[in-house]
């Protein structure tokens, strides 16, 4: 349980990302803590709430229109990972803006809004509406544009794999987001993630989030058919951590843009590995699904003393 000598950061010390000061470096990842409100029903003797020590909640990805998501089953478990095919089920941008984001503001949850769309102008429009409606919010810190959901059928598969698309989406969002942090969440399912990160950096992001899920498949032995109706899903959890570490390292060393690391982080040791490579913050995904206090626990365990 002891922290290595090289670790000198206080994860609860505010830090700057683009135009914003974030309250901390341990975040929850998109899609694994809903919209960041459910945690208020969770108690633990060791924490005031799941939000204790959290730098940000990245919301479930919100799309311009509500989505019902993919058919069940949506999850498959492997010995050290999970494969999901939720299909971006979400309430839609309208309801999110009218109800969810104000509720997060009222509850004081530090929030990064995750957005997905199929065209750059949709990103621009959503960001503009956010900027207009939530200009006075003090807990809304940024936007993460999800350029990488492997589960969505309508072309999403290849969407964020092209540096030109990454660039166009980032530009469209950045134009309308002068005073909040802008992050681009990158797909690992490409030959060269550093190229995507460079494109995002040049187009004006304040950081990239890496990685989203790795394309994976599980087979049902009885039937010989894929477990998930859509065949493929997004692989996450401890099994993908070495891949995430490699991708983060590639970005840090080759693209020179701040990286918010995500992929297989379950405890403070896992988080330290990404900080060691130069990540500025980390997100907790699958582990947060298992334990609503996972991120809070990591945050606490990274404090010296």
């Amino acid at each position: 349980m002891s922290l290595p000598d090289w670790w000198t950061i206080d994860p609860n010390q505010p830090f700057t990302l683009g135009p914003r000061l974030f309250p901390g470096r341990i975040w929850t990842a998109s899609g694994c803590f809903a919209y960041g409100l459910t945690g208020h029903d969770m108690k633990s003797a060791n924490f005031t709430s799941p939000y204790q020590g959290l730098g940000a909640v990245v919301t479930k990805t919100v799309t311009p229109q509500p989505r019902a998501g993919n058919p069940m089953p949506r999850l498959a478990e492997t010995p050290m990972g999970a494969i999901n095919s939720i299909g971006l089920e979400n309430v839609g941008f309208g309801e999110f803006l009218a109800e969810t984001l104000p509720a997060l503001e009222r509850k004081g949850v530090p929030t990064v809004v995750s957005l997905a769309a199929t065209r750059p102008d949709e990103f621009g429009d959503m960001v503009a509406m956010l900027h207009e409606t939530a200009a006075g919010f003090t807990h809304w810190h940024g936007v993460e544009i999800n350029l990488s959901c492997p589960n969505v059928a309508e072309g999403g598969h290849d969407f964020g794999r092209d540096p030109a698309t990454v660039s166009a989406c980032v530009r469209a969002a950045r134009r309308n987001l002068p005073d909040r942090a802008l992050l681009a969440k990158l797909t690992p399912n490409v030959t060269d993630i550093a190229e995507l990160a460079t494109a995002a950096a040049e187009a004006g992001v304040d950081a990239v989030s890496a990685i989203n899920t790795v394309i994976g498949l599980e087979v049902d032995l009885e039937t010989g058919r894929p477990v998930l109706p859509r065949r493929f899903g997004g692989y996450s959890g401890p099994a993908i951590r070495p891949i995430a570490l490699a991708k983060v390292d590639e970005i840090v060393t080759r693209a020179g843009v701040p990286v918010v690391a995500v992929g297989g982080i379950g405890d403070f040791r896992d988080a330290l590995k990404f900080f060691a490579l130069g990540a500025v913050a980390v997100q907790v995904g699958t582990a947060q699904m298992r334990d609503p206090f996972a991120a809070a626990r990591i945050s606490r365990n990274l404090i010296r003393g």
């Binding site: 694994c32 969770m42 633990s44 003797a45 998501g69 089953p73 478990e77 492997t78 298992r290 334990d291």
Partner: protein, 281 residues
């Protein structure tokens, strides 16, 4: 019927007190949690192995009993997670998140109730029944279905339970079991022929739930079912456990996804969109 109050879910640690078979197919796990917790019958907990390599997803189990810090479960070994649970010995640590989900409703009047449980569907209904023992006026008929006589945890069932089995094998002396589906046992039960309007509460495998819903619908009775959906988080954050339900506010044909873990696992059978499957987008 009224929905009982449900409080917050608690994340805490537990220590295995005992983990012993109560029948050929069911194991009773008693945990001592690090704090006392109460629950409403029908609620469940997400359990996991403690230590360096827990299961990626915790596993949902209905709460069978709670007494101070002691909490009991009945489970069947079916796969990787329950196999690992089967190897736990007293003193081993587990993680616990619960109680979770919406419980079975409690009757406000003296409307009689029919309980239909199959296999590992027993714990929530046994808990429900135990909770009613302070309410002697209520008429309750309880039916439990198992594979065979050895699969029935006889010592856990008081004499209010009528037992059905798929095969009459291994029924102990002095015990009574009916051969057939538990819903057929209920359907043929004389006690239910008096024409009174009853309430059906059911828990078990999906075919049982569907049969229970048909049984209730045929009689015009209300029916609540506890669904078993695969779960990722158990507390509403992953959308991995959705159940298509009717959305009467939006129109008779409207459907929406309900999370089994948060809006369920107990659903009013009327709301379930079983008949016309929900189309995903």
């Amino acid at each position: 019927m009224v929905d009982p109050e449900i409080g917050p879910a608690v994340s805490c640690d537990g220590v295995v007190m005992s983990n012993e078979p109560v029948s050929s197919g069911l194991v009773r796990l008693d945990l001592e949690l690090d704090q006392p917790l109460s629950f409403q019958p029908g609620q469940f907990a997400m359990l996991n192995l403690a230590g360096a390599d827990p299961l990626v997803f915790s596993r949902p189990f209905s709460i069978f009993k709670a007494d101070g810090r002691r909490m009991s479960f009945l489970y069947r070994i079916v796969g990787r997670g329950t196999r690992a649970m089967g190897a736990l010995v007293p003193g081993d640590a587990m993680t616990f998140l619960g109680p979770l989900g919406r419980p079975f409703p409690q009757p406000e009047t003296d409307q009689p109730v029919v309980l239909i449980a199959g296999g590992v569907g027993l714990p929530p209904l046994a808990a429900w029944l135990a909770r009613r023992s302070d309410h002697p006026g209520l008429e309750i008929q309880a039916f439990f279905g198992a594979r065979d006589g050895a699969d029935v945890p006889w010592d856990l069932l008081d004499d209010r339970w009528d037992v059905s089995v798929d095969s009459l094998k291994d029924v102990p002396d002095g015990r009574r079991a009916w051969k057939g589906l538990v819903t057929d046992l209920a359907a043929t039960s004389k006690d239910l022929q008096d024409g009174r309007n009853r309430m059906v509460l059911a828990c078990g495998p999906t075919p049982l739930l569907k049969a229970a819903a048909r049984f209730a619908e045929a009689r015009g009775w209300g029916c609540w079912l506890s669904l078993e959906e695969h779960m990722g988080c158990g507390y509403g954050v992953c959308k991995g456990c959705v159940v298509p339900v009717l959305d009467p506010d939006k129109g008779p044909e409207a459907r929406r996804n309900a999370t089994c873990c948060q809006e369920g696992p107990v659903f009013n059978a009327e709301l379930l969109a079983w008949k016309r499957p929900h189309r995903s987008q």
